[in-house]
Symmetry: none
Subunit: 401 residues, 2 copies
């Protein structure tokens, strides 16, 4: 295998530009009535045209049969082996809120829950608390003062929140308190290393104080914490690939992931047109653009086949404007599949398209799961996508004498 | 790479059922007269129908170009990396006889051979002794008493046998005595670890006593031993994959291999119909079934193209009865290829078919080497087959946040 050390040695800065367009949750499954997937159903004249002169294939974000979370799905596309470059749940949730996570911060995922008068968890989700009510209770907990650290409580959807502890010498090797099953008390949060002993003490203070403050707020009268983690220290894309990389994404989580590999996060606005305007504005300033489009995934998660079809068609419609910028390499794929039929991320491989003047003659005539399965790039791990991009951008030296 | 530790973390028990139908030696080579392989020649309407709504691909049991033995071929399909989870020759031969090998037993593969009056091996196979004569001589050796262990001598085909030593504190790091070439004396059996010293002594006793007993039985007047090994301690499929796994196989070796990964071995009878009846009878009791069909491999080994074609057609005929049980996931493949043209196992990749409600629209219209080579699953290592099965059975949690 070619690892980052080898790529670091082979890569060199050149003026050529690479655009990686990630259609989140792109891959799908056939609709029972038509036998066609979302992508096969969508009218995508521009994508189809592109794949007649580009190259197609299917990519596996983590491995055949493995359903990836958003973090491994993106790390792989950024060129980082997702099993090796893993990101903790707490860190990911904090990034998702747009919180400016610093090195040394300890982040955890939290749930409001219900406990009975013996302290036994009777509902791990506090009756699926409303998002608004959850945000109120987060503000209550935000007031907690603990010695030697500062706690930031960040509301998420429904009963979920994230908490970030900031202070000197914190460490994240801590077991979680979620018992996973109801009918049991919260587990003790235990330090799993010498270095985490003090942090465990701070977290205990926070949990005790939370319990006191929440006592009268049944059903949300307790919290559960898990996924304690710190911002990982990954080598940057600049360092490894010699890329000046920029991220254009409307959702905080994807901006956060991009930051972890040293991308410059651009102000992307809200709509696809905003993202496009950002790309246009900064096209001279960088040589790698990660352009993230969220809608197809959200529709897939909602089980809305038609909405996913339309989300794909919207991307197709802006393609000529990206092509007009004449990037030397344009890649279009997803971080994972999200079939409307499954209503969640899935393990199915993701269609992949690379267009550059250095492509072999294409075998595909339309951009679809089926044609990509027979594409000339074959089926390969997503982590190799960035190497392919560098190659087509003529940014890699020869390997070996 | 996703290893067993990761799969252990992601897997969960669910009620969905997986059937793995192994057509031993499935893959073939074209007949010179027709240009069609055994599978392409066979009339397989049910397999063809299945691959139109399932997914196809080609699997490599060990690696591109490597011809697998039965053990690695099956270990891979059970989800165990065959290079890492290796099984000694002695153990495999003992399992093949149906011997109830215990932890701590030391097994070796034996040959009857001919030595001259200087002790030089003149025929490593004792004139390819008949199986019946070999069995008689095994009974003779079975009478040998050695101090501190008990030796079981198990007849195999022709000049071959297995011997199993049972006693306290035995170890298998012993070199073999087969000189591989004629014109040399048997090699000394040497302990390759401190722990094997005592076992070496016991084996020397056994070999000396065998030489005495066989002295008057020319050409089978000596034995050669090799492949000393002990039952490996593999994590069970229950432990790693949370599967209640059962094996249905008419040959002892495959039942033995299944036992090594903790499957429950069911009484399978003799015919394909017996195996099917076993599957039907126990279908509610397990959530993973390894169903092994031997005939295609035997025909391939015999170089009998037509018999292999018929063996495949017999499997095709029972397919509707398996489908009637409605397993959530049905996979059909082989442990390796056995082309009649080669008369032995080969390195050629093996056709693979997976049918489940979560398959993408298929690209294949018939089940054949050629169509599988263009199948939407691509070409992948057999060790990933089980991960795919778990995915389609919705038995794997998402990887990463």
């Amino acid at each position: 295998m070619v690892d980052l050390d080898i790529l670091k040695e082979l890569s060199r800065a050149t003026p050529s530009r690479i655009v990686l367009l990630v259609i989140d949750g792109l891959g799908g499954l056939p609709h029972p009535a038509t036998g066609k997937t979302e992508l096969e159903t969508a009218s995508t004249p521009n994508l189809d045209g592109l794949c007649r002169w580009g190259s197609c294939g299917l990519v596996d974000p983590v491995a055949q049969g493995i359903t990836p979370g958003s973090a491994p799905g993106h790390m792989a596309l950024f060129g980082y082996e997702p099993v090796k470059f893993s990101i903790g749940r707490g860190v990911l949730e904090a990034l998702g809120t747009g919180f400016d996570l610093q090195n040394g911060d300890v982040a955890a995922r939290g749930n409001f829950c219900t406990v009975d008068d013996k302290g036994v968890v009777t509902d791990r989700r506090a009756g699926r608390l409303s998002t608004a009510r959850s945000a109120e209770l987060c503000r209550l907990l935000q007031g907690i003062r603990i010695e030697g650290a500062q706690a930031s409580v960040l509301p998420l959807m429904e009963h979920r929140f994230a908490v970030v502890f900031r202070g000197k010498g914190l460490a994240a090797q801590l077991s979680g308190s979620d018992p996973q099953l109801e009918g049991k008390p919260p587990r003790a949060i235990v330090a799993q290393s010498e270095a985490s002993q003090r942090t465990a003490g701070l977290v205990h203070q926070f949990v005790s104080r939370s319990a006191e403050l929440l006592a009268e707020h049944h059903p949300a009268n307790m919290i559960l914490l898990r996924g304690f983690s710190q911002r990982p220290n990954f080598p940057s894309m600049g360092e490894v690939f010699k890329l000046r990389a920029a991220a254009i994404a409307t959702y905080p989580m994807y901006r956060g992931l991009a930051k972890l590999v040293g991308m410059t996060v651009l102000d992307a606005g809200i709509t696809l047109q905003d993202e496009l305007a950002t790309l246009r504005k900064h096209f001279k300033d960088f040589d790698f653009f990660f352009l993230h489009v969220k809608k197809a995934d959200s529709a897939g998660e909602d089980g809305d086949f038609e909405r996913k079809v339309r989300a794909i068609e919207e991307v197709d419609a802006i393609l000529p404007e990206i092509l007009a910028l004449k990037p030397e390499v344009l890649m279009i794929t997803g971080d994972h599949s999200t079939p409307a039929a499954i209503k969640s991320h899935s393990w199915h491989p993701v269609p992949f398209l690379l267009a550059s003047q250095w492509c072999r003659s294409s075998t595909a005539t339309v951009f679809s799961e089926r044609e990509c399965a027979r594409g000339e790039l074959g089926r390969f791990p997503s982590v190799q996508v960035l190497t392919l991009a560098l190659a087509h951008g003529l940014k890699l030296d020869r390997f070996g004498a």
